[in-house]
């Protein structure tokens, strides 16, 4: 399920969550938490940190919920905007980009202990592979193939044209294909 795919009950959840209804809050978490977590995990490469950032994003969502108004901006897109802002804030505080250099990848990314092993294997491989990409290519790949946004949604999120995102996507997949051919 993509980050921006709205649930039919979403509006009702939002209205009830504004009043502090715990069930509505749980429903919003259930629907969106994985998408936000995945985005953050593949951008920071650390499951524990991604969990903390996800928690921050949702707490911010609760704080800002009374101010959220659906004016052409779907709830998922609004939530994603919070996630992106939180990520940028994290990087700013760290004073550096999140992913370590390729030569430091021998130890592999840190993953949560309670994620199934096959998932860890895939996730680890993907995170290693993402390191061959440029920052923009990585953002396109994460949003399009790992979060599940459409081409138009990616373009809007990144503030780029659809054509530019297509070109970035093509170059990113070419680079990843070459990398995978080498490591397999």
């Amino acid at each position: 399920m993509g980050l921006l795919t709205p649930h039919p009950e979403e509006r009702r959840w939002i209205a009830r969550a504004r009043k502090g209804d715990p069930e509505a809050i749980a429903a919003l978490y259930q629907h969106y938490a994985d998408g936000v977590y995945r985005y953050l995990l593949y951008r920071v490469g650390d499951a524990e940190l991604a969990e903390d950032l996800t928690a921050d994003v949702f707490l911010k969502m609760i704080e800002d919920l009374p101010r959220y108004e659906e004016r052409g901006l779907p709830f998922g897109a609004w939530l994603f905007r919070i996630a992106r802002a939180r990520l940028i804030d994290h990087w700013r505080r760290q004073g550096r980009r999140p992913l370590v250099a390729l030569e430091d990848t021998e130890t592999g990314p840190q993953l949560s202990q309670d994620i199934p092993e096959d998932e860890i294997a895939v996730s680890e491989m993907i995170q290693r592979a993402l390191r061959v990409l440029t920052e923009e290519q990585r953002e396109v790949v994460v949003l399009r193939f790992l979060v599940g946004m459409s081409l138009e949604e990616v373009a809007r999120a990144m503030g780029k044209s659809v054509g530019a995102v297509k070109a970035l996507q093509h170059r990113a997949l070419s680079a990843l294909a070459r990398y995978l051919e080498k490591v397999r």
């Binding site: 978490y29 895939v122 979060v147």
Partner: protein
């Protein structure tokens, strides 16, 4: 690389990705779009990346996050709803008070400003508001006094501003015409201002720089022309003093100071209860009274004889006869 071929390849890739997203498998897609066969490694990579979507929060982490969110929402809901608007109102109040404080400071600072200074327009604007509730004669007199005070203050700094004198005279004339039958208070103020004007205008015509002297002389003539309306000033209307004849006199001696305490004949009974204090440096004879005497004796304007110029103890006079009071430019004497 050929850009045209590149663009074609990019479009082909996107077409196949869309088909894969719609649920088609890779082989079907390549059968449908045979041109995309060279893109097979890229499409396989895209499919491999999509396996990353299986990654999700662990159930424990999910429960923890949900609990945390529910707690926060509950705290938020439990927090007194009134406190947030109250806080907002509090901030608004603080901001409003700050603004008022800034405005009051600006108004206070503007009060002492003179023409040509940045805050002078503020002073005039505030004046406009202050005088809104006044009667026409009260307003004219108030403005006449204020313009004259500015004229005096700027003259003390060596700046002669004939426009201020003219405006003050015009207001005085207006006040006199409007309030000729008014109560004793305003009438006394009118009279006092008229006397003040005469003293400084006479001096201005003598000591002001040549470029403004003619304008000040005109102002003085206008002042003299007000005599029919306001009554002749004490001692009559003096002839303008010529600048070349203005001597710079030494500091006042004890004798002169004592002489200032004496009330000139005919002025003792005059009642000017609310007459303003004569500005320092103007303690001399109302224009015209002793103009023939050179040097002129210094006299106190009516109504201020007993309080403004305390005389020295008798018997301490040591100044030689004929020694006169101060007569330098007003700026130096203030």
């Amino acid at each position: 690389m050929d850009p045209k071929r590149d663009a074609h390849e990019i479009e082909l890739l996107e077409r196949c990705l869309c088909r894969l997203e719609q649920g088609a498998d890779l082989e079907t897609c390549l059968r449908e779009v045979p041109e995309a066969i060279p893109l097979r490694p890229l499409l396989e990579t895209a499919l491999w990346l999509q396996r990353g979507q299986e990654v999700a929060l662990s159930p424990a982490a999910r429960r923890r996050l949900i609990r945390q969110g529910q707690l926060r929402a509950a705290r938020r809901a439990a927090a007194p709803q009134a406190s947030r608007p109250a806080l907002r109102w509090g901030w608004a109040l603080v901001a409003a008070l700050g603004l008022i404080l800034v405005l009051l400071s600006a108004v206070g600072a503007a009060e002492a400003s003179l023409p040509g200074e940045p805050l002078y327009p503020v002073k005039r604007a505030v004046e406009g508001l202050v005088t809104l509730g006044m009667s026409p004669e009260e307003r004219a007199l108030y403005l006449a006094e204020r313009r004259w005070s500015e004229f005096e203050a700027s003259a003390a700094r060596g700046r002669w501003l004939p426009d201020l004198a003219e405006e003050s005279l015009a207001r005085l004339e207006e006040a006199a015409r409007l309030g000729a039958e008014g109560p004793a208070g305003p009438a006394a103020r009118l009279r006092a201002l008229y006397e003040r004007q005469g003293v400084l205008l006479e001096e201005a015509a003598a000591v002001a720089p040549p470029d403004v002297r003619s304008a000040l002389t005109r102002a003085r003539q206008r002042w003299a022309g007000l005599a029919p309306v306001l009554g002749r000033p004490e001692g009559g209307i003096p002839e303008p003093t010529r600048a070349v004849e203005t001597p710079v006199l030494p500091e006042p001696t004890a004798e002169i100071l004592r002489e200032r305490t004496h009330t000139p004949p005919g002025l003792e009974k005059r009642e000017t209860p609310s007459a303003p204090r004569t500005p320092p440096g103007q303690e001399k004879t109302p224009p015209g009274q002793e103009k023939k005497e050179t040097p002129r004796p210094v006299r106190t304007p009516p109504g201020q004889e007993k309080k403004d110029t305390p005389g020295p103890p008798r018997g301490q006079d040591s100044a030689p006869p004929g020694d006169q009071g101060p007569k330098g430019p007003p700026g130096r004497r203030r």
